[in-house]
Amino acid sequence: MKLYLKYASIILKSQMQYKTSFFMSVIGQFLVSFTVYLGLYFMFHRFHSVSGFTYSEVLLCFSAVLFSYSLAECFVRGFDVFSLIISNGEFDRIMVRPRNEIFQVLASRIEFSRLGRFLQAMAMFAYAIPVSGVVWTYDKILTLTFMLAGGFFVFSGLFILYAAICFFTLEGLEFMNIFTDGAREFGKYPFSIYGESVLKFLTYVIPMALFQYYPFLYLTGKSSRTLYMFLPLAGMLFLIPCLIFWRIGVRHYKSTGS
């Protein structure tokens, strides 16, 4: 942990060398997801509700997904840009250092500018938490916490999976964007609105509905099954196969170049 903070401070120092660029990126990140929010706002301006969910409910769902995504993106960023880490030889360096590879990839890239998105998630929370009509009892607070933690784990798992594929292809597979960028974009609405089959896929294959749709039903009082409250914890298990796949990938690593 101490070492992680040391990495973090060096990265922060480096990023602060280019202050203007850094703050522009923060603002830019904010703007990018703000325009997405505006799009959503315009849709509700026209339709008022969708498949039984109101604007403030959807906003709550959106902010939960954005929150966990931006955290994952900020701290697990190394895996997101992993094809770069392989191609510029950084991974060779990682391999000759006496620390766990996953730790080093995590620690060597922390993208503080991604906090722009995080900022927006916070702002939306601040708005949606009081007006969503949820009575914030302890179990509801706990449910929301589980959702955020579950989301962080599943997104992290996806980033790691994405990176592990690079060991075989040496370049990132754009297809994985569906699960990372796509989950962020389409996850702003509860997954049920995309229909039965999409929901099933996101329950049993890539367990994103486990931290989004089901606990969200419990949160908004649309379902009273307490099981739903704990599903995000089950979703976290997704990280395990991702890590196993990563291990296989490291074995398969074939370094580039010289």
């Binding site: 040391k6 060096i10 120092k13 360096r93 006496p98 766990n100 370094s255 010289s258």
Partner: protein
Amino acid sequence: MIELRSICKTFKVARRNAGFHEAVKALFRREYTLIHALRDVSFTINEGEMVGYIGPNGAGKSSTIKIMSGILTPDSGECIINGRTPWKDRIAHVREIGVVFGQRSQLWWDVPVADSFELIKDIYKVDNASYKKNLSMLTELLDIGEIIRTPARQLSLGQRMRCEIAASLLHNPRILFLDEPTIGLDAVSKIAVRSFIRYINAERKTTVILTTHDMQDIEALTERILLIGRGRILLDGTLSELKRRNSRHKTLSVDFTGSIDRLENGMHLAKYLDGHAEIVVDTDILSVSDAIAHISGQAEISDLSVTGATAEEMVVSLYKEFEI
């Protein structure tokens, strides 16, 4: 103690042909070529040795280094370094080695070099006392005391390479791998780097494995040479052995007046200008003094020098001999 036995490694590489038509075709079907980077590579290096690892581009130098440093897993074969297999026991293994990749940096680009050193200290869990001792020794020997307060991006190549080498030695490794450490350096930096490498090998008994294309590195540093070509170890011997082997041919540089028309058997004209000639003598056939006597019989010699083959030439003739 480093021991490699029958190491093999192959890579699958997609074949890419030139041209628009081929590019379209490759969309649907891609052909792969198997590249045998290493076939049956075996050698032993003792503690405290300094070994030059040479061979043309793509011969397998980097792959060997990467296997020995735990980056790559070979397809088959054994590699035992200090009693461990690098890729199986990576973390314990790399604690005892230092690696310098001449073409890549391990320093953080935008922060002072000293900050990178601090981080490396924590990565290797070096205790404060030995870190301090080590750092002061390295900064003094490499003459980087002034520049470690500067961000790496502002350093010249020579300054940066000296910092890279220091960074790889902060944890006092028993083995040092240097992958083209003098590439692109100016003459002064090259000499500084070489004398430093010689120093740590002599004083600290650090085992050094050096790959390079610069034969002056080899001449200045290593006694033992490993030559690799097309994935095989072709030669394992000392530089002086090699020299002896190649000392058959001497080159006579002659300034003269008059003309040289006739050459004895065993003499070969390499260069002929008006008043200057370079003649290669095969000493198995003809002694040098006979050759000189033969020339002086035809022309008036005003200046003369005799040289053996340079390391550079020896390597070229080796590459030719092994057809690599």
